[in-house]
Amino acid sequence: MLTLQKLNEIKEQTLAAANMDSARKGTRVVVGMATCGMAAGAKSVYETLAKEIARRGLARVTLAQTGCIGFCRLEPIVEVYIPGQEKVTYVKVTPENARHIIAEHLVNGNIIAEFTEKVSLEKQKRVALRNCGVINPELIDEYVAMEGYQALAKAVLEMTPEQVVDEIKRSGLRGRGGGGFPTGLKWEFTAKTQADQKYVCCNADEGDPGAFMDRSVLEGDPHAVLEAMAIAGYAIGATNGYIYVRAEYPVAVKRLEIAIEQAKQAGLLGQGIFGSNFNFDIEIRLGAGAFVCGEETALMVSIEGHRGEPRPRPPFPAVKGLFGKPTVLNNVETFANVPQIILHGAKWFADMGTEKSKGTKVFALGGKINNTGLIEISMGTSLREVIYDLGGGIPNGKKFKAAQTGGPSGGCIPAQHIDTPIEYDALIQLGSMMGSGGLIVMDEETCMVDVARFFLEFTVEESCGKCPPCRIGTKRMLELLEKITNNQGQKGDIEKLEQLAKTIKAASLCGLGQTAPNPVLSTLRYFRDEYEAHINERKCPAGVCTAFLQYVVLEEKCRKCGLCARSCPARAIIGKPKESYRIDTDLCIKCGLCISKCPAKAIEKKHNQ
């Protein structure tokens, strides 16, 4: 059995041994090895570092892998902590650079400035991500060193289940998966339902295009989720938990498996946790890649082994959930906040954020933004701060047009609302939603009708097919959008879209369908003129929809080199070197290859005449 005293001993020992505390005696080198880092080549960097450290016999150097620190565009990232010195961040590290870093920095004590980039977390507020990029997610001791499992000990040893529920309620924590339902209330309902068996489920079926918040938490700090689930189990009276994680997250799955095994070994999961009579176990279930399985009822049906389709509510999971038993289901990020709330108190958490949106929120920045990656901010931060201060603005000096939050269920926030504080209710008022945290930035070269078409394509693909409004309605909406972007729009199409959107929203069985029309409704709300231009003026104002465009060679700029003609896959460019070139519009497939090849920038997209 693991006692609190023993837990504290592990904490102190690890802090010293892993050179994690500020009084560190040795050097700590960490390599970002979340999926983003690995994809950029972190594994060979890590291996090189390990080999070099061993070869040179650097005994006082600790090398650790860690999760994502959020600057995905700079991966592989290696950070060096030397006693008494500021942390140094090396970016885009290659194995060769890694050898230099060891030789120059660790051995000779000279920082290689050209390999570094100053990355600052100053403007961020890291609660859910606090350990990501800091600890080795595959070592439970490092989590324990960062106060890990103290919250569980506190809950089990010092608090009644009612007090735990109350603490979460008072913290104002709301679901981070999209809906924003108060977490404490959800726990309270489930706690109050009488049953012989209850369950805690973690929704790690993150599926919004461009969203990777939950993956990063699982890859960087899996124990935080396990600890929170155990706390939830204690609060509601459940002894079993399931993590439903998509199979496309192999690194997260592997780290979860390791974490569960280590927690079991340590006695932090299993029978009689901290000597109490509280038992809790966690199992992993892999999702097969259906977006709809992120919907809570579909997720539970999928865990039960059936086709992942939602069922109507009521009954809500708090009454009848997994295997027909009362169930609490929260997403990864929501859980990641829980241990901190228990440890530091509801007030500490509620002091962050705004009146109705407490705490912090993690966002995955993507699209037309310089710093693509992961950030965590206080609720209430403005979109402008996120895009320009944290995100580094729009590439190539282009103008900001809109940001999409909430993925395919959300909507766009146009430039005139860039100063809106990011909080649940403000976003809903704008016709968007918080969603799980995907934030896609669009610049002036984005066609909003095309954006709506893109998201509808996604929902049509991901509709489960159970209810007709979603199954057929979204398909009909997509067909209308395809018509409009294909220069075949007709008067009345916008009204048809609106009628369908209204019905699908009102009548669909689950959240996927009920929110599917949002991208269309919100682009219609703010960019109706673009729809009208496609239909009435036969043009795509942003110059994106190829059906409205033709490619032309500008005679005056053309150097008559023939590079375009040679690269054209459709053989649509006709001409002879040193004479002239022109594009046969009947043959042209508008792929844009010629524009990228032309050294004289002599090919342009022009609107159809």
């Binding site: 086709r307 069922r311 109507p312 991901e462 509709s463 489960c464 159970k466 007709p468 409004p469």
Partner: protein, 576 residues
């Protein structure tokens, strides 16, 4: 159950607390439209036609799955709801093969009815629609994906009621399809051909394999002697196809109609049911007296036999070796009858009218040819017969009653109750008791074997023997019963199983009733009442007292379970 009072469209109603809003509305005679709903079978809130407005609720709610709660205020007929329903229905229609005028379910289609009721006059949202993808490889059931509206009623019946589970949703989203796994044909999977999916289907996505053309061809062939037999359950259901009240007995009109259609002779399968009782009853007695394999399980339901072969092959030895009544009749027609009337059996064409789709499968099983020819040449369902009568412009309701032909037209009340669940057991008891005791028995009606309870039991003291029998209808119930026996929990001498819930009365080939009609009427009950009325009105009610049965044994078969009887009326080796 506590009562709950709610308000629907301004009217208050008090209902049991376990009611749904849909049920409560029906109490007020408010008919909220539905498509995917069948009471107690498919309550999944998928089709969204039954949406209602609930005061204080964020979204519209599907009333078929919405539990009532005290003080709830419901609206079922608002501009938003009408607009929403119409749009949803237009969407469903936009993705449906709308060949209504040439469709098998024309004028008996729940989608068509709803479109008419909601006044749909145009489909605003046209778009891609599925290509007709027809699976007609099964001898019994045709599946047409282009008609399917994905209500899942067939899936619910196949999985939860019958517990066969060979069709389900495949693919997803717009391309979702209801079909066997991997796009296989129903003929390639462990389908038992019971046709309960057809009974559940609101449209013509599932229908029987239409064999009427074969019969028309035979009837117009001057070289053939075309005879017909009609199963017990047909006579009490056929009238429904002509607008008569459920439970109307139309035996005489049916016989008359068959003669008008051109059948040379009209025989009664009830006669063969009596014959089955003689054979199966003696088989039971033989097994009890000689220590044979018990329990003896009935074999007259071909859906059930197929189920046993697929899912419980260990029980094959328990199955009675008797053919089903339709096959016995066919075998007798092509031997005994052929001799008697002096017609070459090759020229005799036997048509069966059955309440059953599995009979279509049964008649083409290779072992069903003991006369040297197919026992039965073609099987028509009750519905197909109705279509032939309509096509022939016969005014069915105006026909005068006519009698079956003889021999093989005389039957007892025991034969007719074969159509109801428990009927075979009851008929068997009427004979077995007298054979075993050698005394006349005054008990004719065994109430405990009647009714729609899923599994029924009866224990009867016959001399020293305490005979224990059990009855299951619907293969889902059969599973329960067989699992108990396999687990050693129960021991029986005799077991009757019918593949269809309710027995043949609500078989896969019977008239199709809408979910709305099924909400108000339990057709298993109404049709059973009719069939027991036929039994009561019969002069003879015990199979062994049927004079034509006595005669066939005297003249032809010898005695029950004789060598000849075995050759013609039994299957030597039940096959797999």
């Amino acid at each position: 159950m506590d009562k709950v009072t709610i308000t629907i469209d301004g009217r208050s109603v008090t209902v049991p607390g376990n009611y749904t809003v849909l049920q409560a509305a029906r109490e007020l005679n408010i008919h909220i439209p539905t498509l995917c709903y069948i009471k107690e079978i498919n309550e999944i809130g998928a089709c969204r036609m039954c949406l209602v407005e609930v005061k204080g609720a964020r979204a519209l709610q599907a009333s078929c799955v919405l539990p009532v709660a005290e003080g709830m205020e419901i609206k079922t007929n608002t501009p938003l709801l009408r607009d929403t329903r119409r749009t949803i229905l237009e969407l469903i229609l936009s993705n449906h093969n709308r060949e209504c005028t040439i469709c098998a379910r024309n004028r008996n289609c729940e989608l068509q009815t709803l479109a008419e009721e909601l006044g749909i006059r145009e489909i605003r949202f046209q778009g891609e629609s599925p290509e007709p993808k027809v699976d007609d490889l099964s001898p019994a059931i045709v599946r047409d994906g282009s008609k399917c509206i994905l209500c899942r009623r067939c899936v619910a019946v196949c999985h939860q009621v019958q517990r066969v589970g060979v069709i389900q949703a495949t693919q997803r989203g717009f391309y979702t399809s209801i079909e066997p796994a991997f796009g296989m044909s129903l003929n390639e999977v462990a389908c038992i051909n019971c046709g309960q999916c057809i009974q559940a289907c609101p449209v013509a996505a599932l229908r029987e394999k239409d064999d009427t053309e074969k019969v028309w061809a035979a009837l117009s062939n001057p070289d053939l002697h075309v005879v017909v037999q009609t199963a017990p359950a047909v006579r009490i259901a056929l009238g429904e196809e002509f607008g008569l009240e459920p439970g109307t007995i139309v035996t005489g009109k049916m016989v008359a109609a068959l003669r008008r259609l051109g059948f040379q002779k009209v025989f009664d399968t009830d006669f063969a049911a009596d014959l089955t009782i003689m054979e199966e009853g003696h088989e039971l007695i033989g097994r009890i007296q000689n220590g044979g394999t018990l329990p003896l399980i009935t074999s007259c339901s071909p859906g059930w036999v197929r189920f046993l072969e697929h899912y419980y092959p260990d029980f094959m030895g328990n199955l009675s070796t008797c053919k089903s009544p339709q096959q016995m009749m066919g075998a007798v027609l092509k031997t005994y009858y052929a001799q008697k009337v002096g017609i070459d059996p090759a020229k005799i064409y036997v048509v069966s009218v059955m309440p059953c789709t599995a009979k279509k499968f049964e008649c083409q099983r290779p072992e069903m040819n003991s006369s040297g020819y197919r026992d039965v040449d073609v099987v028509l369902t009750t519905r197909e017969l109705a279509r032939m009568i309509k096509e022939s412009r016969i005014e069915f309701n105006d026909l005068s009653d006519e009698e079956y032909d003889h021999p093989l037209g005389e039957a007892t009340g025991a034969g007719v109750i074969f159509g109801a669940t428990g009927g075979v057991t009851e008929a068997a008891l009427r004979t077995v008791v007298e054979v075993l005791t050698g005394k006349e028995c005054n008990t004719l009606e065994y109430e405990s074997v009647r009714g729609i309870e899923g599994v029924k039991e009866v224990t009867l003291k016959i001399g020293d023997l305490e005979l224990k029998a059990a009855i299951a209808h619907g293969t889902g119930n059969a599973r329960k019963l067989l699992d108990k026996i396999a687990g050693g929990e129960e021991k029986y001498h005799f077991i009757e199983i019918m593949a269809c819930p309710g027995g043949c009365l609500t078989g896969g080939g019977q008239p199709i009733r809408s979910a709305k009609e099924k909400f108000d009427t339990d057709f298993r009950v109404v049709r059973a009442q009719a069939i027991y009325r036929v039994d009561q009105a019969s002069k003879l009610r015990k199979s062994h007292e049927n004079p034509e049965i006595k005669k066939i044994y005297e003249d032809f078969l010898g005695k029950p379970n004789s060598h000849k009887a075995h050759e013609l009326l039994h299957i030597k080796n039940q096959l797999l």
